[in-house]
Amino acid sequence: MKIAIVGAGLVGRVVALNLLRDGDHTITIFDKDSKEGIKSAGFTAAGMLAPFAELETAESVIFDLGKRSMELWKPLLKEAGVYDGLQIKGTIITAHPQDMPELEHFITSLKNKVDEADEIKLLNAKELSTLEPELGHHTQSFYLKDEGQVDSQRFIAFSTNYLDSMPNVIWREHTSVNKLEAHKVYLDEVNDEIFDWVFDTRGLGAKEHFSDLRGVRGEVIWVESKEIDITRPTRLLHPRYKIYIVPRGNGCEGIDLDYCKDCKIAQTPNSKRYIIGASEIESEDMSPISVRSTLELMSALFTVHPNFGEARIVNSETNCRPAFSDNLPRIENEKGLTRINGLYRHGYLLAPAIVEKALNEGIRR
């Protein structure tokens, strides 16, 4: 079939990878930005796969889709040639001793939503030390053993490389789409192009269709340090300054891809990279990170381990998560058109499962 994918963010890429596996399609990708994809929310995201931890505020459907995604990521990454892109060896949830009610609130929320949460164990300092020696001074924590992360920047770089190398993929970068409907993509008011099936994966760009779609601003900071080695995604619970620390090991060191160079964040030799995030502000402001958010993220980071004091801030990113008013993802299918949107803060956790569902209910029928 002749396919159009409008929007080359995380969801658009996952759709493309799935369709290439399905068979003999010719795929045209439209995207308003460059192929590097560094303006998409999928690049800004830290890529956590945390179906349990997200339940603190999310509904159980996010858990179910998340579990399914975690099965789908491995083959998907393999197909796109992404190596070292997936880590599933658990995440740590911790809090300062005076913030123990936060841990209590966290676990109660999880247990109220899914039975599987009953198995989650509280770790004492000694048990935590065996998993993460650098965090051993935290007296109480939870270990969510089935969680992990996708290296999101790596996924974006490698999927660009892979999709761009496929002969049956035409990638029209810097191409804005004015409007789309079943079988049709409009590049301006009047001129359309005809396809057998159109995918609308524009995220916030799809506001012309989804009137209740909104952006939720998020800011992250990348730091690099030679003095601290945390290996698992770690969340610090706090009444106000919640953060996550997502370790990226050697970051992009050693990756030789044209599409990776564009992010221009060269790794400090022998250091470990961490992504610290994320603010969550009801605003569609895409401007750079604020001083306040920087202070909040960095002071919370410093309290996790004082060695972060000598880490280097190498980058910050701001983006807006596309979300509906119930903060749940949405699929719309009709013959010749599939729209997928509203993955909110759960992009990497949901994308493979929600795309699978959308394809099964749409083009694959």
């Binding site: 009801e282 605003s283 569609e284």
Partner: protein, 266 residues
Amino acid sequence: MTNSNKKWKIEGKEFDSRLMIGSALYPSPEIMKNSINASGSQIVTVALRRQSAGEQGGNPFWEIIKELGVTVLPNTAGCHTSKEAITTAMMAREVFQTDWIKLEVIGNQYNLQPDPFALVEATKVLIGEGFRVLPYMTDDLVLAQRLADIGCTTLMPWGSPIGSGRGLMNPYNLKVIRKQFPNLNLIVDAGIGKPSDAIEAMELGFDGVLLNSAVALAQEPVMMGEAFKYAVYAGRLSYEAGAMQKRDMASPSTPTVGTPFWHQFA
């Protein structure tokens, strides 16, 4: 005798519900909407500071609030100086087309305790600019006096620090303020954790309560919203009905009928 079915008047407007509720921290805007509806609240606070319109103008979250059809009470949450709070209040007036402002000037970054000095300063300026200022304050009698002196007709002392859910930490102070200002609207703002805290505040004779985390962070926010609706109502009824006095039954004052005197006062 008052009557709880009577409308409640605050800052020139009439309401049925004496519960004021915040719009932050809910799992989703949808749950926020349903919780507010369930709470019966007709006055909703919105923070402007962290939800700046940005360069595109407009803010979808604000649109959701406007669609609730309630009276919006913008607040200056997160402001640390009177100047900052004044600027935010001006912006709020434009965005929400209202002269109401919940004035919040934070003095301590950690527990978000209001700065009484900056609060009085900003209140003076804003009243001069034609605002109706509802100041979020500590439960200090002299501060209450100063704010009343410069023209506030509503005062909003805390029960305990914002988001702490510790209830009324110093009911005595609140009682003193109530006695001293019988004609002002008094709202307990911040610190309410459970519906029983709201009842306690209402039974002290406070005119209303303002809360956010207690509903937003409950396991079932919508259900908790409804619980607070009844709590505030029950508390008001209780205050108006006039509770009986507690009795001390520990040491009997009279012999118990039917018990021989040599078995009594053992």
